[in-house]
Amino acid sequence: MLRIGVDVGGTNTDAVVMQGDKILSGVKSPTTEDVMSGVVDAVERALSDAGADKAQVTAVMIGTTHFTNAVIERRHLARTAAVRLCLPAAQCLPPMVDWPDDIREVVGGRFWMAKGGNEFDGREISPLDMDELDGIAAEIGAAGIKSIAITSVFSPVSDEMERGAMARLAKILPDADFTLSSEIGRLGILERENAAIMNASLRALSERTVDAFGRALKKVGLNCPYYITQNDGTLMSREFVQSYPVLTFASGPTNSMRGAAFLSGKTDAIVVDVGGTTTDVGALVKGFPRPASTTVDVGGVRTNFRMPDVFAIGLGGGTMISGDGDTLKVGPQSVGYKLTTDALIFGGKTLTTSDVAVGLGLADFGDKNALSSLEPAYLDAVKARINEMLTNAVERMRVSPDPIPVLAVGGGSILVPEKIGDLPVIRPEHFSVANAVGAAIGQISGEVDRIYSLENKSREDALGEARKEATDKAIAAGAKPESIELLDQEDVPLAYLPGNATRIRLKVVGDMND
């Protein structure tokens, strides 16, 4: 029984083969323009390094930044109809009101506001108007739009309106893809609606990409199921990611943090992932990345779905160094993928952090003789500056005075010193492919985020109800029932409202069914 983890990054595609908790092989391969040939190459090499039998592979888990990049680069986004069920409320701020112009134009900027929506306690703001919806469907059809995002006021409390509107629109638009905001985001209508619209605009790309992953695996000779990793360290089925591509956003840092936890055996730590261009610093709490508490921008669009709290600095293996003494400057510019031509050790003319690492004897690649002009004192000064940058970033993410370890992972982590401040640094085995390991160990989750009235039930009963619902969701998504445990639980009383309304957010996780 083998598992394969793959991480498709901007620069490298990494793959690992795992048997239970054992890592049989790990390889890095350049990411290719078509993405797929890089996947084929990495997986084939990982399998042959492990001497593994393809027939023994039961699952492939893939982490990808493809969808995040599509939004950031405004590429491959489908024209999308935003339908908001709200009237008479919420008409003063139409859908996409706070989007940057360029991305609004790419998705077409078309929206319709209609009657519907609920109050905080489930009452209707107004009932759905079927004639109105039929008119909207006709206009969407006439505009040739195939992708529809439906957002209803307080749909995290009641999703009936969104479902009802979808059923009605689908009668006239049977070929359209629908995204319901209640399935993606939490309270905060603009942010949830933004996420739903982005999701809708990514669905066509998602179908193509997921199919292509399938073809790549088939080409390698793997016929097992494959999964895509979500930004909270859990897995999505092929069908699920086709419906919810936005949930992959920021899965890269998540995978490297989870992988670091697995490789080191530590569940509470600071993770420093040094790549080619940037270093991502995050915090592990109970083996999972700590989520960011505020809204998160993706390509300039405000969203509120769960993302890991990551602090990024411009320090990586390809970071450029200039100046001396007071003018010494490390980053944030990087030679990026041109490292193998531009760095001194590869015959180039640019001094990079990789040159310094080789000069200090921390690594051994390229031509060390190209560094003869660099004084040892200068190298030490650069090293001190790098340590200072890392110390600041780690301090920022540190949440307790406890001396928790720092886990250094990623290809560039040779730059990380033995100690950061008073914290010991651990460089686990296979550190350079931690992200692919993180993908390989992904778990199945179930989540609930809803307002409960505690007028006629106790807080404990409400939490119990929420936990049951989350557990059912996880089992439906493919988790082993006996392995399910509570990952995160939070209840926030809703200020200014009598009737003891409270908002419960709760998440359970479990191991994947074999």
Partner: protein, 363 residues
């Protein structure tokens, strides 16, 4: 620094959003939605003229208005858009008067924006000042009420077209109770306008120049982040405030009491405060700061919580275990520190019979 603020333009809104959230001391609702709504009004060609408090004619009629409800509802069920305008018209009709200008009841949080966007819709100016100089949860806690104005008749409007006029109540505490019951029925979000005040009264009772204050505060934070200078120190310098502590949240407890969010956070100091522990009590807003169990700053002075790195304000709903925060004390305006005011907004009004208000040190 701005000279005299005569008009709020698009370029001012980001800064006012930050400044108003700082003055909200953790509560008052997030002004982001209000900022976007102001922006939409300006795009239509409407304007937001501002009148300095001192220039308000004595015989003008001024209405204090804003949103009432739950902040979390405000970010989900966004308003139809003219709730406050309809409430204003209802008060005018009830009193058979024409109003000359609008003013904010509460500069802290979301209600900083509501009078500005209503002013844009109504073609009226907004006065540079407000009735609290911060945020507080109830209507009787504003200076209009404290210094003798009766808020009833008051009108409330929801997004569906309902208008409720509360013609009379024995006092403003009863107005608050009745309005609170009405707003729950309306879906926990409504616009509310109160009985017009004369210009001469407003000049005596309003906390002056608070739109300018929010604007300058926000600008200073934005500028500090741009120039990589210390945004927290910038806020302190600007407001004659004091850094009470930099600390990490090591305990966080929140629960419900009578529809309000009540609780406390415990802090472990870092940096210059390494040896100290801190505690902040909250009831929607941050109310009391204690160092090593001794009260140092309490209402009506402002206990402000900022992100220690960015200087951006943290609301009570954003608090989480492990956050690194800077706690600041900012002095309340003298109108909020008088004997009459302390009866309504001093520590005893929030259940702290054992705390006597002492103006924060050095102010």
């Amino acid at each position: 620094m701005t000279d005299v603020l005569r008009e709020v333009t698009d370029a001012d809104l980001d800064a006012i959003e930050i400044g108003a959230a700082i003055l909200g001391t953790g509560g008052g609702g997030n002004p982001y939605i209000g900022k976007l709504r102001c922006r939409e009004e300006l795009k239509k060609g409407n304007r937001i003229p501002v009148i300095p408090l001192a220039e308000v004619p004595d015989d003008w009629l001024v209405v204090s208005l804003g949103g009432i409800g739950a902040p979390v509802v405000g970010v989900e069920k966004i308003e139809e858009g003219e709730e406050c305008l309809r409430a204003l018209r209802a008060v005018e009709k009830e009193m058979d008067v024409k109003v000359d200008a609008l003013i904010s009841a509460e500069i802290g949080g979301a209600n900083s924006m509501e009078p500005m966007l209503t002013a844009a819709q109504a073609g009226l100016p907004v006065i540079d000042g407000d009735g609290m100089g911060r945020a507080f949860p109830e209507m009787q806690m504003c200076t209009w009420s404290i210094y003798g104005h009766r808020e009833a008749p008051a009108a409330m409007a929801d997004e569906k077209g309902s208008i409720v006029v509360i013609r009379d109540t024995p006092d403003d505490v009863w107005l608050e109770r009745i309005a609170r019951a009405v707003v729950v029925t309306m879906g926990a979000a409504a616009g509310l306008a109160t009985q017009p005040m004369r210009g001469d009264f407003v000049k005596r009772a309003a906390v002056p120049s608070t739109i300018t204050q929010a604007l300058n505060l926000g600008r200073a934070v934005l500028l500090a982040n741009e120039n990589n200078t210390d945004p927290v120190q910038t806020v302190i310098d600007q407001e004659n405030g004091k850094l009470l502590m930099t600390g990490k949240i090591v305990d966080l407890e929140r629960h419900l009491k009578g529809g309000f969010s009540v609780g406390h956070i415990s802090l472990e100091g870092f940096g210059a405060f390494e040896r100290d522990t801190g505690r902040i009590d909250l009831q929607n807003e941050f109310l009391v700061f204690r160092r090593n169990d001794i009260v140092e700053v309490c209402v009506p002075d402002l206990v402000v919580v900022l992100d220690s790195d960015t200087g951006l304000p943290i609301t009570t709903e954003m608090l989480r275990y492990g956050q690194r925060i800077a706690v600041l004390g900012l002095p309340a305006h003298k109108l909020m520190r008088s004997a009459e005011a302390l009866r309504v907004v001093g520590p005893a009004a929030f259940g702290y019979d054992d705390i006597t208000f002492v103006p924060m040190e050095g102010t």
